[in-house]
Symmetry: C2
Subunit: 148 residues, 2 copies
């Protein structure tokens, strides 16, 4: 799947992602970066709406788990179970959410549980960035259920 195909998948299946202007910018097998422009995500303070930042961060962690499992030939339904986001600087420009695989030991434990029970849970950290700095730190817990 190319980055454009992943973006198209999101836009087709999660219509709000079109309004966020979310696009998949990078995927290197261990981290994924999603971006969104400021304009459609403005709030009453002319910075990015917290709900938009949260949505992009949730989506970025979801995309990471989905893509990383797929690369290992695993088809899974991935759903978010818990989200936590600490906002830092106000975001006054286009922004991105970068999610990376958790430390190897956690990730391996997740894969082992998934293979044994067909269901497992993993927590993924994401950083919201903008040109001026860090907009927030997100932790999302996702549940994967094997479907293949």
């Amino acid at each position: 799947m190319t980055l454009d195909e992943i973006t198209r998948y999101l836009h087709e299946h999660i219509p709000l992602t079109r309004h966020l202007g979310a696009t998949v910018l990078e995927w290197d097998g261990t981290s994924v970066r999603l971006g969104a422009p400021l304009a459609p995500n403005l709030n009453h303070r002319a910075t990015a709406f917290g709900g938009s930042l949260s949505a992009l961060a949730i989506l970025s962690g979801w995309a990471l788990v989905h893509l990383a499992l797929r690369e290992r030939g695993l088809d899974a339904r991935v759903v978010i179970q818990r989200t936590e986001l600490d906002f830092e600087e106000p975001v006054a420009g286009d922004f991105s959410a970068t999610s990376a695989l958790p430390p190897a030991r956690e990730w391996e434990r997740f894969l082992a549980t998934l293979s044994r029970h067909r269901r497992a849970r993993v927590t993924v950290s994401s950083t919201l960035s903008t040109t001026s700095g860090v907009g927030g730190e997100h932790r999302g817990t996702y549940v994967a259920v094997l479907t293949g």
Copy 2:
């Protein structure tokens, strides 16, 4: 301000709220309820996208603090500092986010700090509901800065 006026304010100043279909359904001085239809907020599983649920919950807590301060004649800039959302049942219908003022002692402490330092922080709980039950529990921490 009528409920329609508050909804209009949100739609004008936070364009994403139009795409969420967010409307203010109730405000009784101590709690506020915002609603959104399922259709524009669908995910790839035909239930509500976690990012939409998170955005409505964040908005609901923000509206509560904003409206409650306004009713006390206080003009303040209110921004979210931290959001935490535990997802429960998948949301397969239209949904709402209800936020209520925190226990009196916490709320009074918040107002006292705000009046003394012109800046204070408060945590607001919200429940995401749908026809079939509870979709999630949200806690948002908001910082208010007096502007008036």
